[in-house]
Subunit: 357 residues, 2 copies
């Protein structure tokens, strides 16, 4: 089946490019001596997780217990929920999941640690808990240093818990535009992480994992000598927003939304069958791949408005869109269509799509 | 089961309020003498479609063939795809669907009409086609007047097609803030529609359906004496963006995203477990229902940042969010949880979630 026969909107992967991205990151981590715990919030697929693990990734990250379930059911054995899990029901699910995989969670306060402890005890499972520290000043995470060390001590003191280390992710730094801004943000995160590691050592404990980093900054965390695991996700697919970073990351765009022209009634304009239901616009509008003469200028639910410069389009013509943001775009779809060149090579589910709980 | 026992993020409906909204719109359309062809792009559910039809709705609108399939499979018998369908494969599916429901489509150019004709002929089914006219100047639709009438004539001349009337929807008018802006935009749409109806009459044809309107403007289309069917969808749920219209529409908020506080490490701030993966932000950030002392100030994929004024939140506490935009928010979820007060009364699928093709 040829790309032109795919019904649209459809989520397509150029498999050759994705594999080259995976190989490149795997080689980097091997050479830098850090583990790659690739983030499945990007791909939401045990299929892709295994392709990463086959290339040497130590495991996967997810953001939600329901995503961890999908990976564990798909045979992934080492999963970190790089996020707080605070409800009893969710923690019971994580405890039950230990029967088929090692699933660690993060915590940023003592009350949550107590809840995890109670649920681990009731389930008869030891659970590994990482302390998330706030290196970004805007989201979850406990104050770095003494407070974080006290929480680590509380975890380590429990018969039902294992202190797993530190979660130290600076999400806000990934998309800062200049190399210098990103370097400076991560230097600050590294300082806070070092202070915390020292405070934890002062409690007689050590951090098996110090995890964080993303596609925008992983070279800095890897060079710090402090981080043991890199949690990049987007590098396999890339998106229009990462392409605006300076310099552009060394990975190539492999993920596209295939879309069809559904109306071309006016000169210089056309309408695509893909609006923001089919391509996430939280980080900006999509680009039209390989067509600098066409701009995607507006998204409603089901329509994308195009302006054309010295070109025309006919109804039924297909275009590839480069999403502004890959993770939430993937979350709109039930299936990936994998291409080799323009031939359909495979179809597989976005198995953890919508797994928000 | 009590609301507080629902795992989050979850999409909940206050059924009493939704039913009151449905009753109100049904009564309005009955009194105004227009049909209500409620738009299923909002709810994506045959269950809700039947509740609307039980109250007198003449049928349903959808935007995509895959949505029409889900409704037809759920027993809805009269469906208008209020949008262009331009691909052979999609039109073949629409033709096949005629075995179980009347499914009409829109067209805005002669080439598409020819394609529909060929597929109807091959399938041995007569298909009803409406002409979409451009009353908004920004999306699909043929030029009102003579061009549209020529297209109507082309449809009516086919042995395999039925000319179904006009699709004349001014999407851009729904959220203009002042009553006067909305009234003026619809007055303009009505003028273009009247010109087109007259031109079509000049061809010896009549329009069985003249459809359009939404929750922001339906009173104007109904009062025009020109529109026969109102295509409002959002009125059953409402959202924060419609609430910014002046005056506020007469419907009450019935749709909420239930969310949980996952971190509250800092004074005056907290983090919810629902970001833009769980609540659409294309029309602005969500509001925190019934809590004017709390602002939702930022959404990342899985986190919502709150600022608190003279109040505090504890980890695990639940809040109801009012989505900025109901339609794409619904599209993020697989299930509705229906509440009577704070008790769970029913759970049913968002059956047409993700049906973008």
């Amino acid at each position: 089946m040829h790309e032109s026969e795919i019904d649209t909107p459809a989520l397509v992967i150029d498999l050759d490019i994705m594999e080259a991205n995976m190989d490149r990151m795997a080689a980097f981590c091997r050479e830098a001596g850090v583990g790659l715990r690739a983030h499945a919030k990007t791909h939401k697929s045990p299929v892709i997780a295994h392709w990463q693990i086959d290339r040497g990734a130590v495991g996967q990250c997810v953001q939600k217990p329901a995503e961890a379930e999908v990976l564990a059911w798909g045979g992934v054995r080492d999963i970190l929920i790089s996020n707080e899990v605070v409800s009893e029901r969710k923690l019971q699910r994580v405890a039950a999941l230990q029967a088929m995989a090692t699933v660690s969670v993060c915590a940023d306060n003592a009350a949550t640690v107590e809840l995890i402890e109670a649920i681990a005890e009731a389930a008869g499972r030891r659970m590994t808990v990482l302390v998330e520290i706030d290196v970004m000043g805007a989201r979850c995470g406990i104050e770095p240093g003494a407070e974080a060390a006290a929480l680590a001590k509380r975890i380590a003191a429990s018969r039902h818990l294992v202190f797993g280390g530190l979660q130290s992710y600076h999400g806000g730094a990934q998309h800062r535009r200049s190399e210098e801004e990103r370097r400076s943000a991560i230097a600050d995160a590294v300082r806070k992480t070092v202070v915390t590691i020292d405070a934890i050592r002062g409690q007689g404990l050590s951090c098996a994992i110090v995890g964080g980093a993303g596609t925008g900054t992983f070279r800095h965390e890897a060079a710090s000598g402090v981080y043991t695991e890199i949690q990049a996700g987007s590098y396999i697919f890339m998106d229009a927003d990462y392409a605006r970073n300076d310099p552009t990351p060394e990975f190539q765009q492999s993920l596209f939304v295939l879309s069809t022209v559904m109306s071309a009634a006016r000169d210089g304009r056309a309408v695509l069958d893909c609006g923001h239901k089919g391509v996430a616009i939280d980080s900006g509008l999509p680009l039209v791949h390989g067509r600098p003469d066409i701009d995607y200028i507006g998204a409603s639910d089901e329509h994308g408005a195009l302006t054309l410069r010295d070109t025309s389009l006919r109804v039924g013509e297909q275009l590839r869109l480069v999403p502004g943001h890959c993770d939430p775009t993937v979350d709109r779809y039930d299936w990936y269509v994998g291409l080799r060149g323009q031939r359909v090579a495979c179809v597989f589910p976005v198995a953890a799509r919508g797994m928000m709980q």
